[in-house]
Amino acid sequence: MRRVVVVGASVAGVHAAEGLRDSGFDGEVILVGAENRLPYDRPPLSKTALVEGLAAGEELLRPVQWYADNHINLLLGRSAIGMDPGRRVVALEGGENLGYDGLILATGSSARRFEYPGSDTLVHLLRTAEDCERLHGTLRAGRHLVVIGAGFIGLEVAAAARQIGMDVAVVELAPVPLARVLGDEVGTWFQGFHERNGVEVFCGNAVSHVERTGAIGKVHLRDGSVLAADVIVAGVGSVPAIGWLSGSGLALTDGVVCDAYLRTSAPDVVAAGDIVRWYNPLFDEEMRIEQWTNAVEQGHYAAQSLLGLADEPYSAVPYFWSDQFTARMRFVGRANAAQHIDVRQSDEKRLVAAYGRDGVVCGAVCVNAPGQLIKLQQAIAGRVAWEDAVSV
């Protein structure tokens, strides 16, 4: 294998490139990124960088010299628009075809769009550094923010805007925030926490239309409420960025279908990060994980797998975090299809809840409780029985 192309220059792609070098690969490495800037870290975009602005260079995944030192050839501002596994080429926007011996797919996610008639310039999405820079300036200049969607991004944006000093309302279709992911009890805690911090939360509700009067909009809700808004942010989820693979013949099902070693259906093509759908043996479940830690580890692993150096199937205990006001939320494992939930602690500052399914503890959410998080993570990784986990 002489040339490996990595498509996608965010956290999974950078760790894949690094993993190739860590594994001793000394051939050519080309890292292709659609955005015309050095690879950067996304989690701060909805937190500190949104409140304080994006400081130049601060959120870079690696300093510019690192790419030169490791002989990683950056091809930035170039979107991949297709691939042909038979001819072993990736087609780039502008007409160029890039040949490969090995290919690592790491194109991540895109923010799901949400548009209302008349609201086009009011509604912001938040996915890229450019989105963050634009939204930071808009929030600083604005007074009334309406957030559509009480998921993690929506709640983080709401917290950031309150810290900036805006009036903030959050509109959520489900009866409780985050309920689909974490269940009613935990979602209700987050709703109360945001309300105590001055966020108005409208659940079980939806936007019917947006009325525009000059720079100010009025957001009309289904129940008749009307919210003033000079900024609207839609945080309504994300979708795997796999549209460019649709004509490739690769097996795709809500992501790129991979085997236990993150190999796709095409020879010498592996995948890493948000787009990967694979069977995680630790949870006996086929899954796709849109999380930072997973992108790091899958990036590193996919490089080893491509080189034939992965000894064990890829398995992981998912982990993610969200920082909102003073709440440092950490989630470990899985909560979907949980049959049990045990809320162990719930007060104004702290929350600890464990989730169980199929007789074992499978997930935990901890707010401002790092010691509990560690104990529960070990119980999840060790597949401790639900009854025994009560004493963890």
């Binding site: 760790h15 690094e18 860590d22 870290d41 989690p43 930072w292 830690t293 790091v296 580890e297 590193h300 205990v317 982990y319 975090w321 440092r328 950490r330 470990v332 401002n368 790092p370 010691g371 998080l373 560690i374 993570q377 070990q378």
Partner: protein, 67 residues
């Protein structure tokens, strides 16, 4: 060649990823909500886990120094 692991306490934000990756080497200080190194000069058998902790730190707070 021996090596040592350290955490920059100013950079650490208490994400606890290192403790979950290598509990033999790292622990949480619950009082301040940050991670600490409990074994600064680990055995070579823990090298891979420590490297995993370095790359898995969201704030790049962990480093390995060769002595």
């Amino acid at each position: 060649m021996s090596w040592r692991v350290s955490i920059d306490p100013r950079a650490c934000q208490g994400y606890a990823c290192c403790v979950m990756t290598a509990p033999e080497v790292f622990a949480m200080d619950d009082e301040v909500g940050k991670a600490i190194v409990t074994q600064p000069a680990p055995d070579d058998s823990l090298r891979d886990l420590c490297e995993k902790a370095v790359r898995g730190c969201p704030t790049h707070a962990i480093s390995i120094a060769e002595l």
